[in-house]
């Protein structure tokens, strides 16, 4: 490996990428806009939950829960339509809370009761969120009554408390995930299109006609995009922090080590992609095709635990899975070492494997 050639490559790629207005905006402006838009979209999603309560005015416990739910700011109490089912079907309601006949207050007084919660399940993520919110509210109310000696301990086991994100603010959870997805998209697309562009222009032939090994060309093409990916981090992180108030509890070195391992992977995947693609169009298409399963199987949007076993095994090959855990861990929890090192290690291993495969596929001739 020739250091001078690597430096020359770095210079060339940085100059070309940063000089190109399209590339520049893809690298620095698009992620900012996308993260902001995604963040706000997800932000709005969990607010304004329209809740109708079906309980007699004398049912104090039911109204306690309702008012407390309203107090969190996530719920908006609406006038109950005649039938909760119709209200949900017409989209008038997001959730309906129904007290048992005779009232929940009395039922709890007798030693145990159950309120029915009806949810609009057409958006599972939202439904899950609503269920969790209300459950937290219910627990709070019961706890308060126990504390005040209003009622004896009800026959309920307390579910796990939600750590790190006590208000279950999904933006804290989602914004780091979206950040990881954007980083994947930008670095993979830029790398693969930088190689396929040279194939299109014919300059790739000139590279191959030079007396440098394919390994040098490969690393020479990869390294600049790893650097650009790292340069992208503070910018998107800035949006997460300043626009969405996502905390940065871990250290910067942890962030950079994790990002380095991740971007190493994504750039290697970009190169791998360009060994199969002949032109920029194919590379773009390949990027988008790859992006979708990467997102779906990353645990960013859909929980991995809900997946069938065979699909769950596939997620072990998804770099986004590890980085999503890492970035959430570092930003929200301050980077627990038990989560940090195994995930960084997995990413480093994946990067090494993809780079090796890319190198094996990277032919020194045009055959």
């Amino acid at each position: 490996m020739n250091l001078r050639v690597l430096i020359a490559f770095a210079r060339k790629e940085l100059v070309q990428t940063l000089r190109d207005r399209r590339m520049r905006s893809m690298l620095f402006i698009a992620p900012v806009i996308q993260l902001t838009l995604f963040g706000y979209a997800l932000h709005d999603e969990v607010r304004n939950i329209r809740l109708a309560v079906y309980a007699a005015p004398s049912d104090t416990l039911a109204w306690d829960i309702a008012r407390r739910a309203e107090g969190t700011g996530w719920f908006r109490l609406v006038r109950p339509p005649r039938s909760p089912y119709e209200g949900l079907a017409s989209g008038e309601l997001d959730a309906a809370l129904i007290a048992p006949p005779g009232g929940i207050t009395q039922a709890v007084g007798r030693g145990g009761g159950e309120m029915q919660l009806l949810l609009d399940g057409s958006n599972t993520t939202r439904a899950q969120g609503v269920a969790q919110y209300l459950d937290a509210v219910r627990r709070d109310v019961i706890q308060e009554r126990v504390d005040h000696g209003v009622a004896g301990p009800p026959a309920l086991t307390l579910a796990t408390r939600v750590l790190y994100n006590p208000t279950l603010e999904s933006k804290y959870f989602m914004v780091p995930g979206v950040l990881a997805m954007l980083l994947l998209m930008v670095t993979m697309t830029l790398t693969s299109s930088s190689i396929t562009r040279e194939k299109e222009l014919g300059t790739f032939e000139t590279l191959l006609a030079s007396p440098v090994g394919t390994g040098t060309i490969l690393v020479g093409k990869a390294l600049p995009y790893v650097l650009l990916g790292l340069a992208d981090l503070p910018i998107i992180l800035g949006v997460a922090y300043f626009v969405f108030g996502v905390p940065v509890r871990g250290t910067f070195w942890e962030l950079y080590v994790a990002t380095l391992a991740f971007v190493g992977c994504t750039v290697a995947l970009g190169i791998l992609l360009s060994t199969a693609a002949q032109n920029q169009q194919q590379a773009m298409l390949g990027s988008f095709l790859a992006l979708y399963p990467f997102q779906m199987l990353s645990g960013i949007i859909y929980p991995l635990d809900n997946m069938p076993k065979w699909l769950y095994w596939i997620t072990y090959f998804n770099p986004l899975r590890y980085f999503a855990v890492l970035i959430r861990n570092i930003l929200l929890k301050g980077g627990a070492p038990t989560l940090f090192w195994p995930n960084v290690g997995a990413l480093a291993l994946l990067a090494a494997v993809s780079l090796t495969v890319a190198w094996r596929r990277f032919k020194p001739t045009l055959n």
Binding site: R4, A8, V15, L201, E205, T206, A209, V212, P364, T365
Partner: protein
Amino acid sequence: MSPAAGPVSGPPAVDVRGLTVRFGDFTAVDQVTFQVARGEIFGFLGANGAGKTTTIRVLCGLLRPTAGEIRVGGESFHDDNHALKSKSGYMSQKFTLYNDMTVAENMAFKAALRGVGDAELKERKERLFRLVGFTHSENAMVGSLPGGLKQQVSLAAALLHEPEIIFLDEPTAGVAPEARARFWAIIRDLAAAGQTVFVTTHYMDEAEQCGRIALMRDGKLVALDSPEGLKRSTFPNGLLEVEGAEGAEGAEPGWEARLRALPGCVSLKPHGRRWHLEPATKGDAPGLKAALPAGFTARDLTPSLEDVFLKVVEPPPVKAGA
């Protein structure tokens, strides 16, 4: 004129023996054998798809041959042969500089790829820019330069590592005639200085300036000689140029077919407003002249390379009744 370019004796700069390149079922280069001497200007001609670029790519170490042996500057082909790649310079058909970088940036990148040190780069750049006649600013973006200037920089970049053999694949395609003439003056200078120049072109006036010309057709080498030798061997009985007076053609419909039917006529091909007529033997010329219809005249013509190209390389025109 520049000093006479001349091949030097000794081991050939390029030695190709039985080269065959197949892509699946398609044979791009078929059993091609030739040698190029050091200091020679070697022209490579053929229709598009005849196998010229494929051959050059093998010689530059870019394409693995299916069969046969090649040597460039004494180096044989194997994947990633850096020695072979160091001996050759390559200016490909497609433009090989980066449009979005300056001239200086392009040269610096090329220097790094080719292992040319900073001090050498500075010295050679000056010399090469003088040689190719590039006087524009080095800080100009390559994409903003006109075609002729780009070509100059491209050549300078290909020469930066002082290759023994320089492969130029249609270097003057799309370049203005004046710039083409200048470019060929540079090629002659290079050969005179001992560099071997291997060039493909579609321009016959350029082919005339080559020491020897190889003609490719459908992947096969169909002729190899000096321009004069090719003309002699292709047209051993010379050529006649036929011209009709105003209105003469209209008065004699079907005269071409009748003339072609004569046993002394090998071919009669339209050439602009005239025709080129090839006699079967030297003795057939007077008879053919006599057979011309009224208003037509014929005179002896020295065959040009274009005549050679049309006869040897281009697919024969479908003859009526043939």
